[in-house]
């Protein structure tokens, strides 16, 4: 009730100010009249009575003011008045206002854009119930790099572990949907039945998978994403229970996942089917490959440390029921990480670098605006003095000035939201392919609140120093017009600020420079193949047309022959995996022991099942022995070509040619591959990573013929231009096979440096902005100092100083400020580069070349910024300058 009255009465007073004042006046008048009447009744004359009454009441205006200023609405009115005044003042100096608002918009906009990108990845909890209990479990290779687990490990942990409420596993699944129209290869997952319930989500139409459906040989059922339902089935929810054709088989749709199911483990998955796979005693099955993602929900009040410990304990206590191969021994436990950490870990270094950079930019923008406000405050000294003389207190003046800077910041913030929207667009466009939750990166309510808060804080901070200075300033001096001489303190403060600004800009520029050097050096590394003029595309042999291996092999051979006849194609080959594309197909291997038995080793190597021309197409050099050739056909003794690093690892200095190796799928059998050649190492994971061990087999000689293969094609001219002709050639063999993931080899090389390039792009943009702001700051300070010292310059000119001397003096001052800032900035950059360290590549944290280039660049900018003020100083007419005082 009372709050309601407070609100309504206050609002009424606010919106009907004249009426409210009128009512107070009426009441006061009534009061006076009644007081007069009372005095008359006591025997005074009318005149005496009204004088006495007025004496009682006191000053009516004061009384009215008392009533008027007592409600909360008065504070609103004052603020509105202050804002109006501030807007008027800002309109009166458009140059200052535009510079300040643009600077703030840049700083706030960039920060907001970065916040919106970082928020869903690093800050916001993932959108699942009790998301803090979700974890991922990864195996580690010998170098400690996380890698997927085997299904055998999953099965054992699920049976033996107590630390988790649920454990689920998922594997990649790429079925081809051929209902009607173009066959489309979908990205999906084969999942254990409890996968969705680990995340605490359920399909919004239909149901999840049952445990019975997740048995080997179970029924063909699928769950769709809402996106797929919209895209392929017109959003028709009655699809539940209907049958769709996948890989030529009928699958029954049992559910649809809701929009916004943030499947961070596999963000692009849009269709799911039950795993229907178990690891039995046979170690030679798919289930023992490292290709399963394991996610879990921790039991209540179990920590990640406890879970890690438990997994390690289980690893140290193998049981007979769960046999383990050498490549999944579990003796080092597993890497248990919170889902959020594991999702963010892939992009953390670049995000931290970008956050650091944008904070620097924001600081530079704030310093710049503070500087502008200080200069403006110095010019407005007489105005402040006048207002104080008219009765404004120091606090009132402070409030007015802070209002002004907050208004300035709010204008900057509004513009900044526009900058942020554009920035978010640019960030998403440039984001590395593995950036999680990209769809959650946008300017939303949280981001808006962030921008609003940031804007207010920045407004208060940039306004505080100048406002305090103004409120405390020597007011009489201001009134006497001595402002120009009274600003010495200001000038020193402003110089300090501009030094800080230059220092911050140097930190940013050096960081960007180090990253630039890293990316440049990265690209100067040979990936081990010649990526120019090579295009690759994945061909999927789907459906049942070529189920038998020989038929499938024939299809790929015919397709290859057709592509080789396309004009412009010089060489072409099929391969089961493309380096740097993200394809990863690791196998454990074994050597024969002295006794002729299989002797497992701990290592694993990438498998490439290729057609003979693969090496020539990618120009991978032969180091020893021979390449695969037409003699390596099905039925012939199996040959294998290994890369140099695998040869070194397995055979040291011994001749690898003729040695025998057994691979994951064949362990314990009589089948041995004979090493016939050694080729150069090829980077497979990324340019910065060491080339992994790899082995090459002829596609017809492996246990099976892969149904998904990539064709690599070397062309004479622009590789991308030949794509349609190559596709037509493949489809001439069979028109039903989908072709996807078309990309030039060069684009894979570039994308493999995605994280660094992402950070570099952001840092370059921020560094350029910082340079601009530093130039504005330098210009402002030097120009201001020329104005302040115009009398001194006049005298010096009168005493015979040459224009060149004056110019040298002014430019020298700019360089001195820059020099001081550079010294500080280089020290700061050394500290800041710790943040970048993990992204630097073959560049030391102190890189003299980068440092020198950055300092020279800033010196150049300083000279440019000082040039116009210097010309103005040189042109000073001594008589006018002296008279101006």
């Amino acid at each position: 009730m009372s709050i309601w009255r407070q609100l309504t009465h206050g609002l009424r007073a606010l919106t009907h100010r004249a009426e409210a004042d009128g009512r107070v006046d009426d009441e006061l008048r009534d009061y006076v009249e009644r007081a007069t009447a009372a005095h008359v009744a006591r025997g005074l004359t009318r005149d005496q009575a009204s004088r006495a009454a007025l004496l009682d009441v006191g000053n009516i205006t004061v009384a009215r003011e008392q009533v008027r200023t007592s409600g909360w609405e008065h504070a609103v009115e004052t603020t509105v008045g202050d804002v109006r005044y501030a807007l008027r003042r800002l309109r009166n100096s458009p140059g200052f206002t535009i510079t300040a608002i643009a600077t703030l918009a840049l700083g706030i906009g960039a920060s907001t854009a970065v916040f919106s990108a970082v928020n869903p990845i690093l800050i916001e909890p993932l959108p699942f119930p009790h998301a803090d209990r979700l974890v991922t479990l990864d195996d580690r290779n010998d170098a400690g790099v996380p890698m997927p687990v085997t299904l055998g490990t999953y099965d054992e942990l699920r049976a033996r572990s107590r630390a988790f409420d649920q454990l689920a596993a998922a594997d990649k699944w790429q079925p081809t949907l051929a209902d009607d129209g173009t066959p489309e290869r979908l990205t999906g997952q084969r999942i254990t039945a409890n996968y969705f319930s680990v995340f605490g989500t359920v399909p919004f139409v239909g149901r999840g998978f049952t445990a019975a459906e997740d048995q080997p040989g179970g029924p063909h059922v699928v769950i769709l994403s809402d996106g797929l339902l919209e895209r392929r089935f017109a959003g028709d929810r009655s699809i539940i229970g209907r049958t769709i054709q996948l890989n030529g088989d009928p699958y029954v749709v049992v559910g649809v996942m809701p929009h916004g199911f943030a499947n961070v483990v596999a963000p692009s998955a849009e269709i799911w089917t039950p795993m229907q796979e178990r690891s039995n005693g046979d170690l030679n099955t798919r289930a023992w490959g490292h290709h399963y993602e394991m996610v879990g929900r921790l039991a209540a009040s179990t920590t990640i440390q406890q879970a890690t410990r438990e997994v390690l304990d289980i690893g140290h206590a193998p049981t007979l029921a769960f046999a383990r191969p050498s490549w999944a021994k579990l003796d080092r436990g597993l890497l248990v990480r919170s889902l959020q950490d594991s999702v963010a870990s892939r992009v953390k270094p670049s995000l931290y670098a970008i956050v650091g950079a944008v904070l620097l930019l924001l600081a530079i923008a704030a310093v710049n605006v503070t500087n502008l406000l200080l200069a403006r405050g110095a010019r407005r000294q007489p105005e402040f003095a006048m207002r104080v003389a008219l009765g404004a207190g120091g606090a009132r003046l402070l409030r007015q000035l802070l209002t002004e800077s907050v208004v300035l910041a709010l204008c900057g913030g509004v513009l900044g939201l526009g900058v942020a929207a554009a920035g978010v667009h640019a960030l998403v466009a440039a984001s590395p392919p593995n950036l999680p939750r990209v769809d959650a990166i946008r300017v939303d309510g949280h981001v808006f609140l962030f921008a609003l808060g940031l804007t207010t804080v920045v407004g208060l901070i940039v306004g505080l120093i100048p406002a305090l200075g103004a409120a405390r300033a020597e007011l009489t001096a201001g009134l006497q017009g001595g402002s120009r001489r009274a600003t010495g303190g200001h000038a020193a403060g402003r110089s300090a600020l501009v030094v800080a600004e230059v220092a911050l800009a140097i930190v940013l520029l050096v960081s960007a420079g180090l990253l630039f050097q890293s990316v440049r050096r990265l690209f100067s590394i040979a990936p081990g193949l010649d990526a120019s003029h090579v295009v690759t595309m994945q061909v999927i042999e789907a459906g049942h047309g070529f189920d038998a291996d020989p038929a499938r092999l024939q299809f790929f051979q015919q397709a290859l022959a057709a592509v080789q006849h396309v004009p412009g194609v010089t060489r072409a080959a099929f391969t089961s995996a493309v380096p740097l594309s993200g394809d990863m197909d690791g196998y454990g291997y074994a050597l024969p022991s002295a006794a002729g038995q299989t002797q497992q080793t701990a290592g694993s190597a990438l498998r490439f099942a290729v057609t003979p021309d693969y090496f020539a197409t990618l120009r991978i050099p032969l180091l020893r022995g021979r390449l695969l050739d037409a003699t390596d056909r099905p039925g012939a003794p199996p040959s294998v070509v290994i890369n140099a690093s695998m040869a070194r690892a397995l055979f040291k200095d011994a001749n690898p040619i003729g040695q025998r190796i057994q691979f994951g799928g064949q362990l314990g059998t009589n089948r041995w591959e004979h090493v016939v050649g050694v080729v150069g190492d090829v980077k497979a994971y990324g340019l910065a990573a060491d080339a992994p061990d790899a082995f090459y087999v002829a596609d017809g000689q492996w246990e099976w013929v892969d149904n998904v293969q990539s064709i690599v094609v070397r062309t004479t001219g622009n590789a991308a231009a030949l794509v349609p002709a190559i596709e037509r050639a493949i489809w001439s063999v069979n028109a039903n096979e989908p072709i996807q993931r078309v990309a030039t080899m060069e684009s894979y090389v570039v994308a493999s440096a995605g994280q660094r390039r992402f950070a570099l792009m952001a840092l370059e943009a921020f560094a350029a902005a910082a340079l601009l702001l530093a130039a504005i700051g330098l210009y402002g300070v030097i120009s201001g100092s020329v104005t302040e010292r115009i009398r001194e310059i006049g005298i010096r000119t009168a005493l015979g100083a040459q224009p060149a001397d004056i110019v040298r003096g002014v430019v020298g001052r700019g360089l001195a400020l820059t020099g001081a800032g550079a010294a500080l900035g280089l020290a700061g950059a050394f500290i800041a580069s710790r943040l970048l360290e993990s992204m630097l590549f073959r560049v030391s944290r102190i890189d003299p070349l980068t440092d020198a280039a950055v300092v020279l660049l800033l010196a150049g900018v300083a000279v440019l910024a000082a040039w116009a003020p210097a010309r103005r100083a040189a042109g000073v007419d001594p008589t006018i300058a002296l008279r101006a005082e």
């Binding site: 009255r5 009465h9 009426d26 009441e27 006061l28 006191g58 007592s70």
Partner: protein, 118 residues
């Protein structure tokens, strides 16, 4: 606030800080009144110990009205004149009881302290 008054000065007629609300509520508990009536009654009953400043009175009335303890309405009075009459609400009466009890407790304590020395 004056901390000391010399015998030469006129006696202090300021309403004791914080008690104006109580005095207004008490006055209105006897019946609706306009501002001048309230001031006059406080002066009369206090035998001119308190003089009420109209500015402070109107501020207090506005505050009490917004707090929901008073209702206010313009009404005709004698000679076809209009005045703003204030009426105690039910919530205001409760507030008066509260403040009265509080005041009595505190003034009794002050009285005991003053009497203690003898």
């Amino acid at each position: 606030m004056r901390s000391m008054s010399h015998s030469m000065d006129p006696p202090n007629t300021d309403v004791i800080q914080g008690t104006l609300d109580l005095l207004i509520l008490k006055t209105l508990s006897l019946g609706p009144l306009h501002g001048f009536g309230i001031a006059r009654r406080i002066e009369q009953i206090s035998r001119d110990v308190f003089k009420v400043n109209p500015g402070s009175l109107l501020v207090a009335l506005q505050r009490l009205e917004r707090a929901g303890w008073l209702d206010a309405a313009w009404r005709e009075t004698e000679n076809a004149r209009r005045a703003k009459f204030y009426t105690l609400t039910r919530a205001g009466r409760k507030q008066l009881d509260l403040e009265t009890a509080d005041w009595k407790r505190r003034s009794a304590a002050v009285a005991r302290l003053l009497n203690a020395e003898g």
